[in-house]
Amino acid sequence: MKKILIFTVVAFSLFACKAQTIYSKGTQPEAMEADNIYIKDINNDHDLLVGTWKWVDGNSSFEITLQEFEMYHYPDNSTRYYDAIFGKYKYIENGVVIAETNTIEPLPNFSVGFNYWTSTLYNVGIKDVVSDKSMVGKFEIISTNTATLNLWRSEGIRVNSQDNNGIDFSLPISVTLTKQ
């Protein structure tokens, strides 16, 4: 009787849990299930990306460190998982630290977020902790150790925004970086 009960519970659990479907990076949303999915870096494209990238010009430098968050999901109740990239940065101008984030945080308190578009092209979002302004842009890997970063303001008319404070965006918006 006990065995039957255990079997019933296990069988019920198996039926109750819908299987998770795994997709590779770059899969279009229309080709995916709406829930219980995992968009995985199957081809290890992130290997090229994670680590530290640095732009240097004399005593000025801009350094971004990127980390993969495996099987990440947001918000907590979402069943849509993906291998995510978040990061931190340090910007020094003429030997003076202008802006820096010391830890790598995922959503919602992230300062750097990279989203896959192709294996060498990522959509980027960076928040400047000095001005409280953010920018979006593109990070394009042009060789195994070289990439370009271009940033701009995302579009939209913002009412009563927290970043309407008169302080300019302090980070560089167009640089070529080298993998360290």
């Binding site: 990076k25 899969t27 279009q28 949303p29 229309e30 995916m32 299930e33 709406a34 999915i37 968009i39 947001y74 918000p75 849509r80 993906y82 995510a84 959503l107 919602p108 992230f110 977020g113 989203n115 896959y116 578009w117 959509n123 979002g125 928040k127 953010s134 979006v136 701009w152 303001r153 995302s154 579009e155 939209g156 008319i157 913002r158 009412v159 009563n160 925004s161 927290q162 970043d163 309407n164």
Partner: protein
């Protein structure tokens, strides 16, 4: 059997139908009372009143004669997507079973072709339009083996309950697909469900905008400016007569996107509209994350005094698709509670929602077509239970709107307001 009244001045004619449905014999009479216009040209679509008398031995009047009525201007709410298609005319050539359902049609205001009672209040329309419930006939060729698309799947008799059918009969997951079969003499119930009420209300709101000259002029400016180099925004309100004025104008510096502005909490905002433009970095063909952020800020700031009366619109440039062209989109707040939760979780910083647009599960981007963007955007609103409804407009006809609805099978449909 076809019969004609001997009283030619009455101009009525009748169909007597004897049927064998589900093994039970029955019969009913359908009365047609055409208009003079139709009598003068009988080749056109029937125009006039239709009613049905059903009886098994004794006829039971199942539809008030004066509640029917149909002409070429009516909008059937049923059978828009369904198969088999229904018809207000009895299918005399049907080789299977004939199913009769009660469905609601819209007879539009004749002066401005608006929904009923939406004509200009300053100049009341002689024929303001009305909703009417009439019999619709379906021919079941499968001899009872109806699939899930079929209105007969619910079975049963009409008890006068709510059916809330909107015509999306092809959606097996959609609880609103139920259409009650008239087997007895029950009166038709409330055919509009809650969602239909929202849909009609939102359509009225959007169509009403196009009657305001100030809206028309300024929206045209925004459409023209999608090929310009600035973002222009207008904030305004709608008065008790339904007239919308947009006195507050803001404009970005040239080639600058994502600019900030301040709206004081004393300003009532019923309408906020703006344009996107492409400055070479691509442009989103739907609302941006910052647009949703602004919507939430207007709400938090107390500018939106009535969420049922609020509309946010955007005019966007053509997308990357071959046939993409300038498009209008509108957002209404369908569920205030859900919207507040959505805002608190995702719209407290536009940096967060911008990132969510781009992540692997959403991929809303300037680099894809209008169609994909609007589908992904509608799905994002649904996935995050935003409480928002999105509509797509027509830059050449500001009174033409369609709701972009994500169905339970995760496909997108356009539900036309007109």
């Amino acid at each position: 059997m076809y019969s004609v009244s001997p009283n030619t001045t009455d101009s009525k004619f009748y169909n007597l139908t004897i049927e064998d449905k589900n093994g039970e014999a029955d019969m009913f009479v359908t009365k047609y009372q055409p208009t003079a216009n139709w009598l003068n040209d009988k080749d056109q679509v029937f125009e006039g009143n239709i009613s049905t008398l059903r009886g098994a031995g004794v006829f039971t009047h199942i539809l008030p004669d004066d509640a029917g009525g149909t002409n070429q201007n009516y909008d059937g709410l049923g059978n828009n997507y369904g198969s088999p298609q229904g018809s207000p005319y009895y299918p005399t050539n049907c080789d299977g079973e004939v199913i009769v359902t009660m469905e609601t049609i819209i007879v539009r205001c004749t002066c401005e072709n608006h929904l009923p009672n939406q004509c200009n209040q300053q100049n009341p329309c002689v024929n303001p339009g009305y909703y009417a419930t009439i019999p619709y006939y379906y021919c079941n060729l499968d001899n009872g083996n109806w699939n899930s698309n079929n209105p007969n799947t619910t079975g049963g008799t009409n008890t006068g309950g709510s059916t809330s059918g909107d015509g999306n009969n092809n959606d097996p997951d959609d609880p609103r697909t139920s259409i009650t079969i008239i087997n007895g003499g029950g009166a038709p119930g409330n055919v509009f469900g809650e969602e239909d009420d929202d849909f009609i209300s939102d359509c009225n709101l959007l169509e009403n905008l196009s009657t305001s000259p100030d809206f028309i002029n300024k929206m045209q400016e925004l459409i023209n400016n999608t090929s310009g180099n600035t973002e222009i925004g207008y904030f305004g309100s709608t008065d008790s007569n339904g007239d919308t004025t947009l006195p507050v104008r803001v404009e970005s510096p040239e080639n600058v996107r994502g600019f900030d502005t301040t709206i004081y909490s004393t300003e009532q905002v019923d309408v906020f509209m703006h344009n996107h433009f492409n400055n070479g970095q691509g442009s989103l063909y739907v609302f941006s994350g910052s647009d949703l952020y602004t919507l939430y800020q207007l709400y938090l700031n107390g500018n939106i005094t009535d969420t049922n009366n609020f509309v946010m619109l955007v005019a966007t440039p053509g997308g990357s698709g071959v046939n993409d062209e300038e498009t209008l989109y509108a957002i209404t707040i369908k569920n205030e509670t859900s919207f507040v939760t959505f805002g608190a979780n995702f719209l407290h910083d536009f940096f967060l929602i911008d990132n969510l647009y781009n992540n692997d599960t959403n991929l809303i981007s300037p680099n894809i077509s209008n169609d994909l963007n609007e589908e992904r955007f509608a799905k994002l609103l649904k996935t995050f239970n935003s409480g928002l409804t999105v509509f797509k407009g027509d830059k050449d006809n500001l009174s033409s709107w369609s709701k972009l609805k994500v169905k339970n099978n995760n496909t997108l449909i356009e539900k036309n307001c007109n």
